[in-house]
């Protein structure tokens, strides 16, 4: 497959792309509003957990509020995004499922819990949440003779996707509901960028092949010079269109259309997996920092430093 075919293949998987798409402002929360939402979130969770959550120990930290709950759980509220998470106090290898059950019944269990948590209430007007995927956390073991046991099911996680207008908001699961084997709630996180409701722009959408070309340009920059042509290394996994929600520690002003790509590099000594995001509009509505951070400045390492450390340890041992 040459590069042109690769671009065509990626573009085809993006599905039906509209010629224009709405751009929305994201609702911003003051700290007071975040705490008000937090109390509502805790009150709903309290009904589901059947544990009191109204007498927690509230600690405001740099960029989040941590609430230590009376029964041993905790909740965290991120100031930049309004993201919320509650974790109960069940140890990870307790309250296991009696057996590994069929996926359908697990989905029903997680959906029932999500309904009791009233997760739909966190989406705004003209917005919705839809079930996306079931995750399972399992465990196994083997003895010295490599005799392995059948896996046990520890937790299930239902992931939900936020939809604004007709477009999904890609990013970390908009809502993730984690359920233990007893049916008890283990954790719930809400990471929804609620729009203000009214579109602020109606922007022309870039063609998917143009976006796919941009993705490959970004990938090419990362792969550097190689004897193997890029098109022979690349295995496109997914290419989608929608809004994006940045991570929970980042503030965000708008929901603007983007293309998102997942590309694996297969058949090479090192396994590699890359995500890319490129704007789907010619005008930039949401500046993305795609440069990555740098490490802290530390003294350059020299062979001598290693020898010094080894010598220091030997000296300590001698003492």
């Amino acid at each position: 497959m040459d590069e042109k075919q690769l671009i065509e293949k990626m573009a085809d998987t993006a599905g039906q792309i509209p010629s224009h798409a709405e751009v929305f402002a994201v609702r911003q929360y003051s700290l007071e509003e975040i705490h008000r939402r937090a109390k509502r979130f805790l009150a709903i969770a309290s009904e589901v957990c059947e544990q009191p959550t109204d007498r927690g120990d509230w600690v405001q930290q740099d960029n989040r509020t941590l609430v230590r709950l009376p029964m041993g759980g905790r909740a965290v509220f991120h100031h930049a995004s309004g993201a919320m998470k509650l974790t109960t106090n069940i140890s990870p290898m307790e309250a296991l499922f009696p057996k590994v059950e069929a996926k359908e019944s697990l989905v029903r269990l997680v959906e029932a819990t999500a309904e009791r948590l009233r997760i739909g209430e966190w989406a705004g007007a003209r917005e919705s949440l839809s079930f996306e995927r079931l995750w399972q956390i399992k465990a196994s073991a083997a003895d010295r003779n490599y005799r392995a046991i059948e896996p046990v099911l520890c937790r299930i996680v239902g992931a939900y996707r936020h939809v604004v207008g007709k477009l999904p908001v890609w990013g970390a699961a908009s809502v993730a509901v984690q359920v233990a084997g007893t049916g008890a709630l283990d954790s719930v996180s809400v990471q929804i960028r609620e729009s203000t409701g009214e579109p602020i722009d109606w922007a022309p959408v870039v063609r998917p092949d143009v976006a796919a070309q941009q993705v490959l340009t970004q990938l090419s920059g990362l792969m550097g010079k190689s004897n193997v042509p890029l098109s022979q290394l690349v295995v496109p996994q997914w290419f989608g269109f929608g809004y994006i929600s940045l991570n929970k520690r980042k503030s965000q002003r708008v929901l603007a259309p983007h293309y998102v790509a997942a590309i694996a590099i297969a058949g090479q000594p090192e396994a590699q997996a890359y995500q890319f995001v490129v704007p789907a509009t010619e005008r930039t509505f949401l500046p993305l920092c795609q440069a990555g951070n740098h490490p802290p400045v530390t003294a350059a390492r020299a062979v001598a430093s290693k020898q010094v450390a080894t010598a220091a340890r030997a000296f300590r041992a001698y003492q």
Binding site: D62, L66, R74, T87, S91, P92, M93, E94, E132, R133, L134, W135, Q136, I137, K138, A139, S140, A141, A142, D143, R144, R147, I149, A159, W170, G171, A172, A173, A176, L222, M223, G224, K225, S226, N227, V228, L233, I244, N247, R249, A262, Q268, P269, E270, A271, Q272, A273, Y274, Q275, V277, Q290, G292, N293, P295, P296, A300, K306, A309, T310, R313
Partner: protein
């Protein structure tokens, strides 16, 4: 409180130039590593070292008996975070790539022996496929009193939804989650298919003739120093089973 070390490799230009690997550069290596580092330090934990790019050496994790220098680095801290490209061999050994041959380009887990008479309790590797879920016992040799190896059984993604994973793991640890839960939850965004797995060893009472007493395991009981219980070390002679916990979608 804990002493921890960090190694992160973002650029692989030397490995490519030497014809050792076709591995591409990463983008968010130091978003994750810096987040991990700053969260733990702000909770009072001590960073023993933070090496980046060509300052990360394979000898840092290779056992001293095998010609390495783990006694000064990985086996000299309670918790070690590394990010680089990884994979596993056909026999289940983990391997990871470096961007300088000090003295080899890659590390292989049959040359690790962590925890011995030294410090290492937990190793966290944000690297693809360092655990073969069909051959987890191939990692048994690394547990010389090491408690938990946190890795991946398939791809781990470098991208804009995983750039806060390091801080998420560290926040979970300092908030009091177990080490196993901190890793699996912290590197999962429950959208992109990261494949976290945590591997530990257990004693005969935990194996219990195959009727596992999960509540006794490191997976259930080990927390970061200062944030909950830490189980005693298990010497190789005390180890009767190997246990692993993973997320799949």
């Amino acid at each position: 409180m804990a002493r921890f070390g960090v190694e992160g490799i973002r650029y692989f230009s030397h490995a490519r130039a030497a014809g050792v690997s076709t591995a591409g550069d990463l983008t968010y290596t130091f978003n994750r590593a810096n987040g991990f580092d700053s969260s733990l330090r702000s909770a009072g934990h001590t960073r023993a070292f933070y090496w980046a790019n060509t300052d990360c050496w394979e000898t840092d994790i290779r056992d001293t008996d095998q010609g390495g220098d783990d006694v000064s680095w990985v086996d000299d801290v309670d918790l070690f975070w590394i990010e680089t490209h990884g994979n596993h061999e056909a026999d289940g050994r983990a391997r990871m790539l470096y961007d300088t041959p000090q003295t080899q380009w890659r590390t292989f887990s049959n040359q690790w022996q962590l925890g011995e008479n030294w410090n290492a309790e937990w190793v966290m590797a944000y690297s693809c496929k360092t655990v073969d879920r069909n051959q987890v016992p191939a990692l048994w040799n690394i547990f010389s009193r090491l408690h938990i190896y946190c890795g991946a059984w398939d791809d781990m993604w470098d991208g804009w939804t995983t750039d806060e994973c390091g801080e998420d793991v560290a926040d979970n640890l300092r908030d009091g989650d177990t080490v196993s839960a901190s890793w699996i939850d912290g590197v999962s965004d429950w959208w992109f298919d990261n494949h976290p797995i945590t591997v530990c060893v257990g004693d005969a009472a935990t194996w219990n003739n195959g009727n596992i007493q999960w509540n006794r395991s490191y997976l259930n009981r080990d927390h970061l120093w200062g944030h909950g219980n830490v189980e005693p070390d298990l010497s190789p002679a005390q180890q009767a089973c190997i246990l692993w916990r993973w997320a799949e979608g």
